[in-house]
């Protein structure tokens, strides 16, 4: 049952999730491969965000929620009592649907968390900033205005800054919840290229409503429906030759 293969970085085993008495996820068992992009797709309200937030314990912040089953990160259950969620979130970063930079300068947005985690040397921080912003393909646009407020950037730039901010913590996994849904096509294209580049070093799990996007950026795709995992496999397989009728209906747009 538990298949912690060499190339799986996260595995979920029979995971159920409850908001109070409402069961949002039912018996999800799946594994995420290292250095791959996995797309989570499915109709609105099927539990994609819930599942994503469960992988780095962000759902802990919501009162009255409950998890059953186990979520293994590198073989260790992140819901075990001796696990510090703060440590988990350091290693599993997250990018949100709406860009949410801090009301600080561009520089301080990137250095905020690394500083608190103990990096204090100015030269270390400076190189970390450049490296993170370069990885997020934002460096050339902001290198001369690092001290300007992040709030003055465009939406697409803000989102790339949020990605840079997550990268600066050097996580192993990056969770992205519809990272381009608030952006124009050009910014979207930039972020898609970026994701492709990032998978060399990171494992990426992305929720998206955009079928073309899922097909373009991911190697694995999981289709969710009503809180269950309906189908999971290679992206090419899912999009060209889905096994389940529900999957086919959804990706061809026949689903409501």
């Amino acid at each position: 049952m538990v298949k912690v293969g060499k190339n799986f970085i996260i595995n979920t085993n029979d995971v159920n999730f409850f908001y109070g008495s409402f069961r949002a996820l039912t018996e999800i068992t799946m594994g995420f491969e290292k250095n791959r992009v996995t797309a989570l797709i499915g109709p609105s309200g099927c539990g994609k965000s819930t599942f994503l937030r469960l992988l780095n314990r962000m759902n802990d912040l919501i009162d009255g929620t409950r998890v059953e089953g186990e979520v293994l990160f590198e073989g260790k259950n992140i819901y075990a009592t001796d696990v510090d969620p703060v440590e988990i979130r350091r290693r599993i970063g997250m990018v949100f649907q709406k860009p949410n930079p801090f009301p600080k300068s561009i520089l301080n947005n990137v250095t905020f968390a690394p500083k608190l985690s103990g990096i204090t040397k100015k030269s270390d921080l400076d190189s970390l900033v450049e490296q993170s912003l370069r990885q997020a393909v934002l460096w050339d646009e902001v290198k001369d205005i690092l001290n300007r407020s992040a709030m003055t950037l465009s939406g697409g730039q803000q989102q790339r800054l949020c990605i840079a901010r997550a990268l600066a913590m050097k996580p192993d996994v990056i969770l992205m919840d519809e990272p381009t849904s608030a952006l124009d096509p050009i910014s979207t294209a930039k972020i898609e290229e970026l994701i492709d580049e990032l998978k060399k070093r990171y494992t990426i799990i992305i929720v998206t409503h955009n079928m073309q996007q899922a097909a373009r950026v991911s190697q694995k795709t999981a289709f969710f429906h009503l809180g269950t995992l309906v189908e999971y496999g290679d992206t090419r397989e899912i999009f060209t030759n889905p096994r389940e009728a529900r999957t086919k209906d959804y990706i061809t747009g026949r689903y409501g």
């Binding site: 962000m58 703060v86 440590e87 979130r89 970063g93 801090f102 009301p103 997550a166």
Partner: protein, 284 residues
């Protein structure tokens, strides 16, 4: 059709009239105080102590006393209020217990100020043996404005977007660091505004300091926090009711009132300026 417009017209007229009455009352009071009081205001009046059984009274010690009491009150109430509000809105699990505490805080805000005065007398002055002093008075005023500051701080904390907290926590920053580095700084403008309004209240109250800090008369300035002080609100009370020459001191009473009102309005004005400046700066 016409009837509806008529009703609307009547309604608007009533609303406008009420606004007018309120503004006129306020303006009337201010004008009355100003025209009765401005002749008393001289440089000596503001910078020298009272003399001749207060008939040629000047009010410098009272201004200084009110200043100390207010600073004292705010240094007690601000840290305590911010910490309480942070606990209530960021840490505590919302439930019956927290609801009871909130109701308690709100009730505290409604308690008549003389009750605070008596509490201060019983607890700080007598039980803790602070005597009638700046310390006892500041603590009493501090408790008096605590609910205002807790309320304002909670409101300000609630105004900080949840996305800021999520962004920080998702980076693996601990809850305490998130609150200390992200949430509290974002809430600060709101907290400050509420607190400055609290300062205005502390500066203007008579009853809480009557038994805990205020002296009838001192020519010298306080040397330590265990000294009694004169204070503007209490000085007005003394001049108007307890002095030997109440009629002769009438202009001085108005002068003192004018100074106090100017002080409180000035503080409120600062609050308004800070708030609008900070509002313009923040963009979420």
């Amino acid at each position: 059709m016409k009837w509806r417009y008529f009703k609307q017209a009547v309604f608007f007229t009533v609303v406008r009239l009420s606004a007018l009455v309120i503004s006129l009352t306020l303006l009337g009071i201010l004008a009355y105080i100003f025209f009765n009081g401005y002749r008393a205001i001289t440089w000596d009046f503001l910078t020298l102590p009272p003399t001749d059984s207060m008939t040629r009274g000047w009010i410098m010690p009272a201004i200084v006393g009110t200043f100390y009491l207010t600073i004292g009150a705010i240094s007690v109430a601000l840290p305590l209020g911010i910490v309480s509000a942070t606990y209530l809105s960021e840490y505590a699990k919302q439930g019956p217990f927290i609801r009871i505490i909130r109701i308690g805080v709100n009730c505290l805000a409604g308690v008549p100020s003389v009750v605070f005065g008596l509490f201060g007398l019983g607890f700080f002055v007598v039980f803790l043996k602070f005597g009638s002093s700046i310390l006892a008075g500041s603590l009493t005023l501090g408790i008096l404005i605590l609910p205002t500051i807790i309320g304002a701080s909670e409101e300000a904390l609630k105004g900080v977007p949840q996305t800021f907290r999520e962004a920080s926590l998702a980076l693996g920053v601990s809850k305490w660091q998130t609150i200390y580095r992200i949430v509290l700084p974002s809430a600060l403008p709101g907290i400050m505004t509420g607190s400055i309004l609290g300062i205005g209240r502390a500066a203007g109250e008579t009853a809480p300091i009557m038994f805990t800090a205020a002296a009838f008369f001192t020519a010298i300035l306080p040397k330590s926090i265990f000294d009694e002080v004169m204070a503007l609100p209490y000085h007005i009370y003394v001049l108007a009711t307890a002095g030997t020459y109440i009629e002769q001191t009438r202009p001085l009473q108005y002068g003192t009132v004018l100074v106090l009102v100017a002080l409180v309005l000035g503080i409120d004005l600062i609050a308004i300026v800070i708030r609008s400046a900070m509002r313009r700066k923040k963009r979420w």
